[in-house]
Amino acid sequence: MQLKYHIVQLGCQMNISDGERVQKVLDELGFVYTENEAEAQLLGVIACSVRQKGIDKVYNKVAKWNKWKNRKSLITFVSGCVLPADRERFLKLFDMVFPMSELPEFPEMIRQYGIVTPAGIQSLDAGLKDIKLPQENTINPAEFKLVPTGVTGKFAQSSSVTESNKTIGEFWHIKPKYGSGFEAYIPIQNGCNKFCTFCAVPYTRGREVSRPSTEIINELKQLVSQGFKSITLLGQNVNSYGLDKKGEELSFAELLKEIGEFGKKSEQDFWVYFTSPHPRDMGDDVLEVIANYDCLAKQIHIPVQSGDDNVLVRMNRKHSVEKYRSIIRSIRRLLPEATIFTDIIVGFTGETEEEFENTRRVMEEFKYNMAYIAKYSPRPGAASSRWDDDIPKEIKSERYHALTGELMKHSLAYNKAMIGNTYKVLVRGEDRKEGFLSALTEGKIIVRFASKDKSLIGHFVEVKITSAVAFSAEGELVEVLSEINA
């Protein structure tokens, strides 16, 4: 019998990256991943507290799983971004609750844990022997036994509000199970010191901690040697990298330079992205480094959140529209070919028509290639959740559509200008359009082209653009750039 696990993955790229490490731990323990939660013996959630909806999903899942426990033996766990109050409730609902920084102890928790239904104990006791070992980090599934020891999750004795981040270094040592053979995330920083009033991350992930640069570069080198083509450096405030080490670690610009130098020497073809930077810590030094190295992708995701200074103050963003404007000017000057993406919240508490209009003007001025526009909803635990959510839903929708319209206009104009030109793109998979493959340019513009050759997936090819719509372009395959090992 093979013990199977299923993970419900919620939230951002950071959570996806964390989930890759959780999967690696479970794989090493001998569990086998299944897409079908009904056939799993180990069920977990990587939670996200950005919106209440995400947390509601966790409660719904665990309620269902706990019902299943009446007829079969299951272990449940939750990790990820969890607020202190939810964590307390989860302790009563899940068998294991632990912060991601304590993932290295997960095998030990699994070994020690109890909590199974009487029916489960009987059925399992009938056929399985005592669990042994995880000294070698492996468990023979056939020897797996659920022992009702009554040991609960790691937070049982913990009163810490946020993840202490003291053991995050050990977490980073876990090699992830990458979800793709050509795209990967590398976490370089965890936590946040910025305290934007709409965001709960400072309360779920704790303070900013930078991962040692040697580890980051080693992981990147390994990925490149394995043929990965698109690597994204991750952090809640990725460009605050190194600041917590007060001069004893590379700055973000220096880290990029190291990566750039490696890229140059390696003569490998790959693109390195990063997300998400905070405007406060975005300097020309970062952009100058990107300009100097081919492997550093010319695509900048720089969240603006609002185009109005008053709203930015209420959001506690620590930057003005003018400061943000100066960053955009620098991007246009130093990286003229770069695409620019952003995040925007509409309908933030107290946002007046005039304040929204300033955001719309900013959209018009900065001509983003992509904007992730969110209608404001209070995020439990964040400072703004204590304020009235006073902008009616309909107004939020109107503003959302107004900004989307603005975005589409600029995105379409940019994509149309691509027509007739040839671009190097990374093929990512089959397109929804029958007989087409989907790819991304260096600037992350979606490009589809006619081909049924799935061996191109994960490789660079050149595509000549023939037509364009607002958020994508279409073209013809010109040349395959990487060597394909069929």
């Binding site: 202190p84 009163s159 509000v161 010191n193 103050v313 003018e322």
Partner: protein, 218 residues
């Protein structure tokens, strides 16, 4: 055994019926004047951000807190007895004076409403020979929290509900009626509306936006 972020409450100083200063064991915590911490009763899960009130060289850590009618943490902390543990995270924040501005002996204008005076108290205690003017907006003059900490001619108490301050009216009224050197570096701390209005006024008076720094109390 104390955990890393647990500190002992050493005392409480009541300044008004609702406003108090918590004196907390510092345990070697290093900070810059103007930064804040996350603070709460160690037996509770709830924490709030509070600016550090004490100076960087002081033996203990202090925070200035106003009890909020519908609040949670400010009430919990007010009830805490001496010797009880509190949990602290931080320091964090960027509301600090740049070293080069101090070295250049620039003029500073600090504008606070209510307990928004806390980071300025820390700055004045921490940085010797600071050339500052502190505008403090409150309703009543008795809310001039520990004003003896400031040089008398540098502290201007603006009161809206009585005539016992230095100026009758809001800090924004004071700004409207006075002129400031264009190289003045301005720091604003307190409620959002005050900050929004005061910043707009200072900009109109020719202070470049790069010289305006705000910390909003929520």
């Amino acid at each position: 055994m104390q955990s890393d972020n647990t500190h002992k409450l050493l005392g409480i100083r009541h300044l008004t019926d609702s406003t108090y200063v918590l004196e907390i064991e510092r345990r070697g915590m290093d900070f810059e004047a103007g930064q804040h911490i996350l603070l709460g009763d160690a037996s509770s899960l709830d924490k709030r951000e509070y600016s550090i009130y004490s100076g960087t060289e002081d033996e203990n850590l202090e925070v200035l807190i106003k009890e909020i009618e519908e609040g949670l943490v400010s009430k919990q902390l007010k009830r805490l007895e001496q010797g009880r543990p509190v949990e602290i995270e931080g320091p964090v924040g960027f509301f600090s004076i740049e070293k080069q501005d101090i070295e250049a002996k620039k003029k500073f204008l600090f504008i606070a409403s209510g307990t928004g005076i806390a980071p300025f108290h820390s700055m004045v205690k921490s940085i010797p020979d600071l050339d500052y003017t502190l505008l403090h907006g409150v309703r009543h003059a008795h809310e001039a929290y520990e004003m003896e900490a400031y040089e008398r001619d540098r502290y201007i108490l603006c009161t809206t509900a009585d005539d016992d301050g230095d100026f009758k009216g809001r800090v924004t009224d004071y700004i409207k009626q006075h002129e400031f050197d264009s190289d003045t570096v301005c720091f604003f701390c307190g409620n959002f509306n005050m900050i929004k209005d005061a910043m707009a006024l200072m900009e109109k008076k020719g202070i470049p936006p790069a010289q305006l720094h705000a910390e909003v109390y929520f």
